[in-house]
Symmetry: C2
DNA sequence: TATTGTTATACTCTATAACTATA
DNA sequence: TATAGTTATAGAGTATAACAATA
């Protein structure tokens, strides 16, 4: 069963390799696209809350995605301070694929998993726990933070 | 059951908060300490392979941990090119605690988990899968890589 | 020749702080 | 006054490339 999941991961990965190279995707940029795909056009403030990141970080991520022609900044119809980050046609195609792949993977992971199979999966999950541990230790338990908070000067 | 795990995480987290602040711990530095605790004194080359990172990155991490007095660089007895990264007494105390806490958490997660409980845990794991997905997409499936590889100039 | 670890340089991601435009 | 998003600045983590010392 684990074999099947790994095989699937490799397949999905092969599918996406081209997009990564051509579109300069990174984990954070992909995460932003993911949220955008589920929420539709939203302000950068909403994205900042969704990614649990400061508005400043969103500015940089959106800049990069605009350059890759995956999103655009549109004026907010009611609030002239705000901008609506919107998927382009290509961005929309990509997030659609992301969601379909995500569902496929989730089904493979859980749909056919028995208790016995899960027990054999336990060893593989040890790494996940180790990561959780490191995370809790070094970020004060806040899952959104990837870098340590420096002391304010 | 999930409540018990979360409670435990909070407890361990409280235990470690002081160390984080005082010793300038970060996820990568904690990971290095973790490997060092399991392997004993090793060369930076070995650590680079263990963390799946270039030797250059190890230089910076070890520099920081030396400053925090958690490790020292000792001359390799047989190879004058290499240095042995070694835990200090305080570093050893810390990694000992890390390992004990890790075991405690792993036991809480798995020892009493039934299939039914796992099913209810599935929703929580959706985030893990989403992260896996983002990771596969943006790093070409190499779990060790956290930043995207830039095109060589 | 090959390997260990360094310096030099550059990129991503994140943070805080100060600021502008708007509400 | 408060909020949305920007520029300025800084730090952590990583990479490639060139290099010195040693194997």
């Amino acid at each position: 069963m684990l074999d099947r999941v790994l095989e699937l991961v490799v397949l999905l990965n092969d599918d996406m390799t081209q997009a990564i190279e051509a579109l300069d995707l990174t984990p954070s940029r992909t995460h932003l696209l993911w949220e955008l795909g589920r929420r539709g056009p939203v302000t950068q403030r909403v994205l900042a809350d969704a990614l649990k990141v400061t508005p400043r970080a969103i500015t940089g991520l959106v800049d990069a995605l605009v350059t890759s022609r995956l999103v655009t900044r549109e004026p907010h119809p009611a609030d002239r301070r705000a901008t609506l980050v919107t998927l382009t046609a290509e961005g929309s195609r990509l997030t659609g694929k992301l969601e379909r792949d995500h569902r496929t993977l989730a089904r493979a992971l859980f749909a056919e998993m028995s208790w016995r199979e899960f027990a054999s999966f336990e060893r593989g999950l040890a790494d996940v726990i180790a990561n959780l541990r490191a995370h809790v230790v070094s970020t004060g338990g806040r899952p959104g933070a990837r870098t340590a908070t420096r002391r304010a000067s």
